[in-house]
Amino acid sequence: MKINKLLSLLLLATILFASCEKDSVDLPKGDYENGVLISGEGSGAGTGSISFVSDDFVTSENLIYKTVNNEELGTFLQSMTFDNDNAYIVVDNQNTVTVADRYTFEKLGSINTGLILPRFIAVVGNKGYVTNWGSTSSDTDDFIAVVNLETYEVESTISVGNGPERIIENNGKLYVSHKGAYTTNNVISVIDIDSEEVIEITVKDNPDELFFNNLGELVVLSSGRTIYDTDWSVIGTTLASISMIDITSLEITNELVFAEGEQPSLMVFENGAIYYNIGNSVYVINESATSLSSTSIVETEGFLYGLEVEGDNLYTLDASFSDSSKLNIYSISSGSVSITKDVAIGASKIYFN
């Protein structure tokens, strides 16, 4: 009897000890933790998908969502947003936001009613705010869908101007760039989450990327618009700019205007510096710069469709829509490629997980 008791006690102790050990060590949260995620839009050649490249660049894996869940995400995968342990994957033609664990990529659910051509999502508390282009035939029905992230249902909508694209939250307000969907637009919407009041700020044509800099200013990249004649020949472009906006006065405090014909499409913010492109050339300026740069830091290869920066590494996506795309990582100091990986079809965005 005694021995039995003793053994039981020992067993219990072992279990406790083992569990203690488990708790004390930082176990990996999933296969896709420490690495870079790349989302690809997909095309007729294959589904929109997510690729993973480990932090040390040793391992890489494509179609991770499909591998884990045995289903495809469809086309066109526009964007991904993270919040705590979740990834929110927005696929526009599927009118779907799929929710997955950001580290294991196991599907947790999806929002597939109430969205019409969704583009980006911002998560605030237990609510998701999804920009939607609405019907392609109308440029007055565009909206922000307010999603309850516990039920995965669209609870209400906020009507906004044509072609809402990126959306970020700051201090109870949502900031939305209006790239203009199928046509064009030139505003940033500022939406008060509580009152749902919408105020528009006019910027240069086709605003897309936006973020807050260290000075608390909203920085917006407007790509400019291409002008066609009635026969659809290109007859010119409107001016592009990087605009800094004071969010209290809603005034543009600093506007860096590009030369005529230059159409930047990508912009990232890293460590007080703004990186942007014109075609395949990547430039960098300080966040408080008063003029644009005249010398590029890196000349990229192929079709530059995605950009990120971390330390000395410039991550670029050379997108292909008929095949896998390429992730080329450049060393900013040397200007040359150090790592290349095959990634998703139509690769467009890079996320550090």
Binding site: G46, T47, V91, N95, N112, S137, A181, D323
Partner: protein, 652 residues
């Protein structure tokens, strides 16, 4: 508001182009057509009363296009007669899939569907209506779910280049939709009515009326199809969403012969359809598109044909229109329209001492095409071709053809073709053909707003084929090898214009090489009221990009179909099956992106309730996909699960 022409969703565009661009409109006044028909009948009955030419006794079958039968030496032609066409009334796509060596790519059952021969592209397949190439001027293709074919008397499928007779694009092969008219001494009137009901609220009905007389022939047909097409998407909880379709087709053919030498024929067809484009997984309910299309085709042919000399004059007028609603609930749509005027004169002269015939074809065509985004363009083309065919000592028969086009938009290369066939010895003969074909850029390729490329040059393909044929009364086997070398293939790519990366533009990009083997077997035997008919088609295709040596996308290496039918007195039975090999969908042939191989089979039977010469009634039953196989021809679009069809066929 306009289409996106920025690089918003680059992946979207080529699919969009494929989806968008076939269409047709009934803008000829139907009333006028009927009046014309009535006029003809009345005129005819008057004429026939005083007609002095009563010496015509033989039954004669006439077609609008004699070239397919006359000038195809050395080519393989698969013929589907009306009994096969009427067995499969609802889908041209599935008819071809089970009965021809053609690969069909379908965006879900009833959705956009394109066809390709021997690993060539969809725009290399020409669909020919009574001798006229009817591929869309906008995208150079025919949508195989935008046509109903059950009213035609015969479909011929000719593998191998046919640009000489049937114009641009016929690099892979041609599919001929033919109406037959008949003159016979005894006047007869016959009717046929077929109706069927099937799963997914599918309903088809067609009626054919035929009147044949000594020197007059009339054929009128109506067909109507509709379906909810909401089949279960196997392996999911969804149904095929937004896949409904309906279409109406009217065909009229008239012939009148003035004498044994001269006759006039008129063919007209009108088609109107409304379809919805179904959604794909993972969320099929996001589908919201609608597509309407209308087409009208008219052809008037006058023929004078004596033994030595023949003349033929043709006038054609064809219109097409499509309307594409990205949002089915909206009244806004994108459209494309085209009008074509064709005049064709051919003259042939028989060199009796040489056992040869020389034929000249001259054709002038004027095409007006526009879309909501492309202002109306007019393309004019004059083409001249010379054909020479000869019988050499009853041992070798050959056709030599050459064609030159003069096009208002660009230079078109000289094309030529040679077909040769040996005399049958011990039921065996050999055949061979070689040709140079081309495909001119389409309106979309050239003029798509902000993206078209007016510097494109035509694709050119050189090809050759050699076959051995065994044929006796019960068995025929055709085995052939083919080779196609295509250059400057037009490809849409986001890197097409180095000045504007990210903008999808078409360029003359790839050179490809296709080679393979085709086998066609037919076995027919009749013993003591037991009638067996067995057909088998097998194609092995290796189609590669010459630079990268990778396989072309959406080309299966193996394609096999066969069907067996058995008849005993009043009973009939058939079984048909299809195997399609896997296809790659990316240029690098990534194993991550493939359409897997699939096998699917259908079964059916019928019973003749009445079987007299004057009156026949039969009822039939059909099960499609009897093994309930989950298969796709496009990723994320499961094809229909097992489904049923009941039909009645009444001839009187």
């Amino acid at each position: 508001m306009g289409r996106p022409i920025t690089r918003r969703k680059p992946g979207d565009l080529p699919v969009f182009l494929t989806i968008k661009t076939f269409g047709i409109k009934v803008n000829v006044n139907m009333k006028r057509l009927i009046l014309f028909a009535i006029f003809f009948i009345v005129t005819n009955s008057i004429l026939s009363q005083n007609d002095s030419i009563k010496n015509i006794l033989d039954e004669v079958i006439v077609v609008a296009d004699k070239r397919i039968a006359k000038n195809s030496k050395g080519y393989k032609i698969t013929t589907l007669n009306d009994s096969i066409l009427l067995k499969n009334t609802e889908s041209f796509t599935s008819l071809l899939r089970f009965n021809s060596p053609i690969y069909l790519k379908e965006y879900g059952a009833g959705g956009t569907s394109t066809a390709s021969f021997r690993g060539t592209s969809a725009s290399n397949t020409a669909v020919v209506w009574n001798g006229i190439n009817i591929n869309s001027i906008n995208n150079g293709q025919t949508g195989f779910n935008s046509l109903t074919v059950s009213l035609f008397d015969q479909i011929s499928i000719r593998s191998g280049g046919g640009s000489i007779e049937y114009g641009s694009g016929a690099i892979g092969g041609t599919i001929h939709l033919n109406d037959e008219l008949k003159y016979q001494p005894k006047k007869t009137i016959s009717n046929q009515f077929i109706a069927s009901l099937g799963s997914f609220d599918t309903f088809n009905a067609l009626h054919k009326f035929k009147m044949y007389a000594d020197n007059f022939s009339l054929k009128i047909g109506f067909s109507y199809n509709q379906s909810q097409n909401d089949y279960k998407l196997l392996g999911t909880d969804y149904k095929n969403f937004n896949g409904a379709y309906k279409n109406l087709n009217i065909n009229v053919s008239l012939g009148h012969r003035f004498s044994t030498l001269s006759q006039i024929k008129f063919y007209s067809t009108s088609y109107a359809a409304e379809r919805f484009f179904s959604g794909e997984l993972p969320n099929p309910t996001s589908a919201n598109e609608k597509y309407k299309d209308y087409n009208n085709r008219n052809l008037l042919v006058y023929t004078y044909d004596d033994k030595k000399i023949s003349h033929e004059l043709k006038f054609g007028f064809l219109t097409q229109e499509y309307q594409y609603f990205e949002d089915k609930n909206s009244t806004e749509f994108n459209f494309g329209k085209s009008k074509r005027y064709i005049t064709n004169y051919s003259f042939s002269y028989q060199l009796q001492e040489l056992k040869a015939v020389v034929t000249s074809y001259s054709e002038y065509e004027s095409i007006f095409g526009k879309t909501d985004q492309i202002l109306e363009k007019n393309r004019r083309q004059f083409s001249q071709s010379i054909l020479y065919n000869q019988n050499l000592a009853n041992a070798v028969f050959f056709d030599a053809k050459i064609r030159k086009d003069f096009n208002s938009d660009y230079k078109v290369p000289l094309s030529f073709a040679l077909g040769i066939k040996s005399k049958k010895i011990n039921n065996l003969f050999v055949r061979a053909n070689a040709s140079k074909n081309y495909r001119v850029p389409t309106y979309n390729d050239l003029y798509w707003p902000g993206q078209g490329n007016t510097d494109l040059i035509p694709e050119i393909a050189l090809q050759g084929e050699f076959g051995v044929v065994f044929k006796n009364n019960i068995l025929s086997i055709d085995m052939s090898v083919f080779y196609i070398n295509a250059e400057n293939k037009i490809v849409w790519t986001p890197n097409g214009d180095p000045e504007r990366p990210g903008i999808w533009t078409p360029i003359n990009l790839t050179n490809t090489e296709n080679k393979g083997i085709e086998v066609a077997l037919n076995f027919k035997e009749n013993f003591k009221n037991h009638f067996v008919d067995f057909n088998l088609t097998y194609g092995y295709t290796e189609a590669k990009n010459k630079e990268t040596q990778t396989y072309l996308i959406f080309v299966p290496k193996h394609l096999l179909n066969n069907n067996l039918s058995y008849r005993y007195k009043k009973y009939g039975f058939f079984y048909e099956q299809l195997f399609t090999g896997k296809t790659f969908t990316t240029e690098s042939n990534s194993k991550d992106f493939i359409v897997p191989s699939f096998y699917v089979a259908n079964i059916g039977s019928y019973y003749k309730i009445y079987n007299y010469k004057e009156k026949q009634i039969s009822i039939g039953f059909r099960v499609n996909n009897i093994f309930n196989e989950l298969y796709v021809t496009q990723p994320r679009r499961p094809m229909p699960n097992r489904n049923f069809k009941l039909n009645i066929n009444y001839k009187f």
